[in-house]
Symmetry: C2
Subunit: 404 residues, 2 copies
């Protein structure tokens, strides 16, 4: 019997308690051992809940309990989640988490602290909700060099974009729908401005290349500027529009970024709709593999948290279980964004002579027209080259969306 | 340093040697230990190969070598692959394999033998080539009950269907193309008649429900009977056509089957094209997750074989590593196929009065017409009910394709 403590009895925390209770039989069958929740830390009381009697308001009830060997942190936010995690690891308790903010900001230190104390720090639920992606990257792709990762990492924005594409809703209308359905928060900034996705791509970049960038120091563009004219242009060019977290190495240094992208319909990410997430990993031996599923939600995310707990219990007799190592990025570890190269869809005001000016600077490109704009997908070029060409062609840029 | 032997130096076997050599540095970094190929068993000589000097024609050179702790079996076929696997496990050597035939037929016995000898038998590469699916199902979904699995499990048939759908090629033309590209063998029966997919869905069913059915005893329908009229009907109904391996429980017993399916365009499997594979798993907590990638090919499949080797090396100090258990199915473990329920697309000859006869038996359904046939998707019904209704409506059935 393994005793677990839950930190934070919100959506995911209560989901984890439910998964452990409802699926107790299958978990015990898979593991050969029972896993039970012993204590739950939360500021609130939960009198109606079957787990209400386990609630404590004092973290020390958990930290000082030698029977609790695994702590599941699902509080969200940096503090006190980070501080509690450090205390648990230092006390020789394993920690699992769904908290992408803590992993993205403090993952390097916490993995090192776990290793130093002979325990594990697992965070499958921090990226892609219930989708198995972190453990498969660590274990199943261990025979590969990761080349690049592209992910639809935020369900709220994917729902909004799906409604803009399939129902012709404006950004504001689709956001209101998402809020009405509970997919978006009253203050949706972290989702629609890309910060949530930025935290997740920073974690995937660290898994891929060993370097933990700061989510504050990467290029991050949300979807608030996208219009139905952008969607119309995308459709005319045979593409969907998605908010994509992307990481690759540029001149030997790590690039991570978040931005809207035109995704060709031949790319498996193009068909991922509604609140679903997908992570496409390109690795040097296996090629492209994709992991798809519910990127958020109570039980899916809890499923991933409990998978981490099971992983810990299954290996509790083993010393030095293999774990990823993250190095905190120095300034010189960040790629220069000006050197990053991709294709882009450029849309300019469709004034007289626009086609000729575009051809003079961008070469022979196939253009489409929509809503007073003339748009096209240019050749692969660096950010620096793109800025230079935009300036050189002497037209008013209406929008530029990178292409996956 | 861990020494590995390779059994069978064909496409996958030589790929595994290449992955271990080309990615030696990343593997050593991920594992903290070197992995090297010490011997290769094959009947042929490989004089031009950098691995030629490792080749032996005598299995005992491997079996009796105490330095070889892991054997990678990539021979294909049941014999002698099964016999060699048994001998290695009995001698206390771990075995990894890409051989779906051996896993589907003898997996229960071999997993038991491995456990009895304190070693492991891993087979990630036996389903979905390089796609991580078996380890994620065992580890990441361990907190879930598996409800059902649907998979595009054969790249050859998916290529043929993609060409029929996108290029209007007939089955015969698309098969000839697949053969010209090396995707299909000169004798394509195992692919196009569904046997390859049957072996794989039997393995996925055993992972899901613990019961290993025989691939010879499940319903297996290939794609040889599919026509461009079927494709036209599917398109008119907003669907793609895919060869799908499916498993679920029916009245408490295990059903596994292979058949063509209409796949609605909203289903993530519908967009999987060419030789790619995808496995969609429905589990009771996480919901639907999908794993996608190259389902065959030298380096992708070898990537999965080497991932299994890495898994073994990473856990070599641990006793009793958690492993799936398969029970060989008794007759009473098989679901009665007559009780299996799904939706189907029925196509009848479009004679006078056909619509009325269809309405009388199948109720109000929306019909489409193509190529002298009248087709529609009926309500969910069991196989038995479907057969009864087909007989009752007194029309000539041209085709029936189940719907995912």
């Amino acid at each position: 019997m393994v005793n677990v403590a839950i930190l934070g009895f919100g959506v995911v925390g209560s989901g984890a308690a439910q998964v452990l209770a409802d699926n107790a039989a299958v978990i015990e069958k898979n593991l050969g051992e029972r896993v039970a929740v012993k204590r739950i830390l939360d500021l609130r009381e939960f009198e109606g809940s079957p787990f209400g009697h386990l609630v404590t308001h004092d973290f020390n009830d958990i930290l000082s309990d030698p029977d609790i060997s695994v702590v599941a942190e699902m509080m969200g936010g940096s503090h006190p989640a980070y501080d509690f995690t450090k205390a648990c690891l230092a006390a020789g308790k394993h920690v699992v988490t769904s908290n992408k903010e803590v992993v993205a900001r403090f993952g390097a230190e916490l993995l090192e602290l776990a290793a130093a104390n002979g325990v594990r720090y697992l965070f499958e639920a921090s990226v892609g909700g219930g989708i198995p992606v972190i453990r498969p990257m660590v274990n199943d792709l261990a025979s590969n060099e990761i080349v690049r990762v592209d992910g639809i990492l935020n369900g709220t924005t994917n729902y909004i974009l799906t409604r803009m594409i399939t129902a012709g809703a404006t950004f504001a209308e689709a956001l209101a729908e998402a809020q009405a359905k509970g997919y978006a928060e009253a203050n949706p900034a972290a989702d629609v401005e890309g910060l949530d996705a930025a935290r997740k791509i920073v974690i995937l970049a660290a898994l891929s290349f060993g370097t933990l960038l700061s989510p504050d120091n990467i290029y991050c563009e949300g979807i608030t500027g996208l219009t139905l004219a952008d969607v119309a242009v995308a459709k005319a060019l045979g593409c969907s529009v998605k908010l994509i977290g992307h990481t690759e190495k540029v001149q030997g240094r790590v690039l991570a970024m978040v931005s809207p992208r035109l995704v060709p319909l031949t790319n498996p990410l193009s068909g991922i709709s509604d609140v679903f997430n997908g992570i496409l990993v390109d690795a040097n031996m296996v090629g492209e593999v994709m992991f798809y599923g519910a990127g958020a939600g109570k039980l899916p995310t809890a499923s991933a948290v409990v998978a981490d707990i099971i992983d810990i219990v299954a290996h509790k007799a083993q010393k030095n279980v293999r774990a990823p190592k993250f190095e905190v990025a120095k300034d010189t570890d960040y790629a220069d964004f000006a050197d990053y190269a991709c294709k882009s869809c450029f849309a300019f005001e469709a004034v007289d002579g626009a086609a000729e000016k575009i051809a003079a600077v961008f070469g022979e490109v196939e253009t489409v027209s929509a809503d007073g704009r003339i748009a096209f997908i240019g050749d692969m070029m660096t950010e620096k080259e793109a800025d230079e060409k935009i300036a050189a062609c002497g037209l008013t840029l209406v929008s530029r969306i990178r292409v996956l």
